[in-house]
């Protein structure tokens, strides 16, 4: 959206660009004006793109060696781990990559919540982002089924069974999902097929997500609109590219530390036991990134109710741009929202912890309180807050903090001194 019209230098390039404006696109991407006050929480968009590409590339290689059949799936994973050259590396990157992907996406989402990036005019970016998040969860869930371990099998059984709670058609939907009357070979096959498909849909949505971002441009920590092509922005390349690269490498270091030195801590040991429909594990737990929703599911006494609340917990976020009635974007200038934000973070982490616990006693009570608070936050507190919160004054522009620097003010004062000679005390 750089306002200056781009014309390629050479004749050939002009000929090509007028037919397919790839050069204009790449010019736009390098010159794309970004607010100069973005902090490191803004680097996770790039990190997430890296995660998606890593998952696709490693997944592509794994698919060359994996066998989607109940009798061979577990064995083929061991074949990858033992006999395929660097197969262990590729599989561990893929398995831990999923966790890292979710770690990054949660930071990305909470950044958006804190700085109000979902608000007008960025609602479409937010909603596309949420669809990506939902696709990610579906993809990750189906990917976890593929090794055909105990947690794969029983996780798949629990999650697909949720659909049977739907009145009248529930049972048929579940049978249709399974391709039979229980989780079995047809289920594994279709999950494999979808696990391969969904990342490419995600990739398409990521392009739309970035496209939608480039129309209004980035939000920034102050949440106030910036003037494009002014000294408030800097071109994406090389400034943001270098900053994103630095942050990405730090992230990759953490990522690879897990891959090489603790590749199995984020997984469940039971998934190294081959699936056995006759033996139910003591506790069936999903992967860590799905635990908050699992806690909400189990907090509700009725099965259908639990399913409704669990899905609502995600879909309620789609309405967030309209539930949050405050005109002020950034939590920096919203003293009460800022506190509520951290309470929400704590609640979600608490729900995640409770999702890994058996649903009884104190854990169940806390799950219910947490679930209630989660919905109260979005449905009651946010709409009211927009009306009654007394917000801090906004700066005139993002440069304001810069002008506040003593250096600039001193210069102005010195200039005044130079010209006035005296009466400086009265000069403001």
């Amino acid at each position: 959206m750089s306002e200056t019209k781009y014309i390629p230098k050479s004749k050939l390039a002009q000929w090509f660009d007028s037919r397919l404006p790839l050069l204009t696109l790449s010019h736009h991407l390098t010159e794309y004006p970004t607010p100069k006050n973005l902090n490191y929480w803004w680097t996770f968009g790039g990190i997430l793109t890296f995660c998606l590409i890593t998952q696709i590339v490693t997944g592509l290689v794994l698919a060359m060696h994996y066998v989607a059949h109940v009798d061979y799936a577990f064995e083929s994973i061991e074949h990858i781990m033992r006999d395929v050259n660097y197969g262990w590396l590729i599989r561990y990157v893929h398995a831990n990559g999923a966790s890292m992907f979710f770690l990054a996406v949660y930071i990305h989402i909470f950044r958006s919540l804190y700085y109000g990036s979902y608000k007008s005019p960025r609602e479409v970016i937010w909603i596309i982002g949420l669809i990506i998040y939902i696709l990610m969860m579906a993809t990750a869930f189906m990917g976890y089924v593929l090794p055909w371990g105990q947690m794969s099998f029983w996780g798949a059984t629990v999650i697909t069974n949720l659909f049977s709670a739907i009145p009248l058609i529930g049972e048929s939907i579940t049978t249709w999902l399974w391709g039979g009357y229980s989780v079995d070979n047809p289920t594994l096959n279709r999950f494999y097929s979808l696990h391969y498909l969904l990342p490419f849909l995600t990739f398409g949505l990521v392009i739309l997500h970035i496209w939608a971002l480039h129309v209004p441009g980035n939000n920034n920590p102050t949440g106030i609109d910036i003037k494009k092509n002014s000294n408030e922005t800097m071109p994406f390349h090389p400034y943001m590219v270098m900053k994103d690269l630095f942050a990405l490498l730090l992230f990759v270091a953490v990522f690879l530390w897990f891959v090489f030195f603790a590749p199995n801590v984020l997984g469940h040991p039971d998934n190294y036991i081959e699936a056995n429909p006759m033996v139910t594990p003591a506790h069936i737990v999903p992967e860590w990134y799905l635990l908050p929703f699992y806690a909400i599911l189990r907090a509700i006494p009725s099965k259908l109710g639990g399913v409704i609340f669990m899905f609502s917990a995600i879909f309620i976020l789609m309405l967030l741009p309209w539930l949050d009635t405050s005109k002020i974007r950034s939590a920096v200038f919203r003293p009460i929202y800022r506190k509520l934000f951290w309470v929400l973070v704590f609640t979600v982490i608490l729900l995640g912890y409770l999702g890994a616990k058996p649903p009884d006693g104190i854990y169940l009570i806390l799950s219910r309180l947490g679930t209630a608070y989660y919905f109260i936050h979005f449905l009651i507190l946010l709409p009211l807050l927009g009306r009654y919160e007394k917000t801090d004054p906004l700066p005139m522009s993002i440069s304001d903090p810069v002008l506040d620097k003593p250096g600039v003010l001193d210069k102005v004062k010195k200039a005044a001194l130079k010209y006035e000679g005296e009466n400086v005390g009265s000069f403001k």
Binding site: K36, F246, V252, P269, V408, Y419
Partner: protein
């Protein structure tokens, strides 16, 4: 910029502390105190003790293999780098000790032949049902990934092997069920598998119960993760490489960004000039009216 980075890290640390708190409570609750041992394969530089792995194979072969399979290991693995590293000849000799069913031959008959390096470890039972039937209804699990399939891993297996105790008075056990301190639920259908001197080590190591448990556990960890050593070696190199790269990229980033800061400075100077001009216009008037 560094200030921004500082705030960023401060927030990250707060988040980590807040999020780890419930999980640390969680893990404390769940952890049974396993017997403490030093494993040579633990840590960033961890490697296997070859002699221990070789002894561990001997224990597996003489004690465990009667009931437990290790179907994902091949005899060739025994001579591969990062494992027990038997010589090829030794591994061949080990393989040849076993009878493997092969076929069908040209006449359509299955036949038995002696094992080769490429064969998988021979299964003690023809199928799972046979193994359950001969073990009082309990399935002796395949040991290929056992060390990764149990919470606690090596420590758990080691403790379990040494965790057999007299049945306490308040516990009643059926025939063929034993009391084990570390087994979840304390009831185990495997009788105490090892005792002092149950194997005789050819390298002169004293075959105490603890030594045997340690050797066979090491062997099982290697069986579950045969590339553990190359994993550690590569990981170390990768992290060092990344640290250097991160420093270089950070320095380049600072260099690139300094261009923008100097640009901002130019703009500040422009602003200053503008202010100067405005002030000049007001010159002569009462400074008190100047804003």
């Amino acid at each position: 910029m560094l200030v921004h980075l500082n705030n960023f890290f401060k927030k990250i640390i707060i988040i980590i502390v807040v999020s780890i708190f419930p999980f640390s409570v969680f893990s404390e609750e769940k952890k049974i105190d396993f017997i403490e041992t030093n494993w040579s394969f633990e840590g960033i530089f961890g490697t296997f003790d070859r002699a221990s792995l070789q002894r561990g194979y001997q224990v597996y072969n003489e004690v465990c293999s009667g009931c437990h399979s290790v179907k994902h290991l091949s005899y060739r693995n025994l001579s591969e780098e990062g494992g027990p590293e038997f010589s090829i000849e030794e591994a061949k000799a080990i393989a040849a000790e076993f009878e493997v069913e092969d076929g069908p031959n040209a006449d359509g008959e299955m036949f038995m032949r002696s094992g080769k390096l490429s064969d998988n470890f021979v299964n003690p039972y023809p199928n799972v049902h046979a193994s359950i039937a001969s073990n009082g209804g309990a399935y002796p699990p395949d040991m290929s990934v056992l060390a990764k399939a149990r919470a606690g891993g090596a420590d758990y297996i080691y403790s379990l092997l040494l965790g057999y105790e007299e049945t306490p008075e308040n516990v009643e056990l059926n025939d063929g069920v034993y009391f084990n301190k570390y087994m979840p639920g304390n009831k185990i259908k495997m009788s105490e598998p090892i005792s002092d001197g149950i194997v005789e080590y050819s390298d002169g190591t004293k075959a105490t119960k603890e030594q045997i448990a340690k050797d066979v556990t090491s062997f099982l960890v290697w069986a579950a993760e045969p590339h553990l050593e190359s994993q550690h070696k590569m990981g170390f190199k990768v992290i060092i490489y990344l640290i250097i790269l991160i420093i270089l990229v950070f320095m380049s980033k600072q260099k690139v960004w300094s261009r923008f800061s100097s640009k901002t400075q130019e703009q500040e100077e422009e602003t200053f000039d503008k202010v100067e001009r405005i002030v000049t216009e007001y010159e002569g008037e009462d400074p008190k009216t100047f804003k």
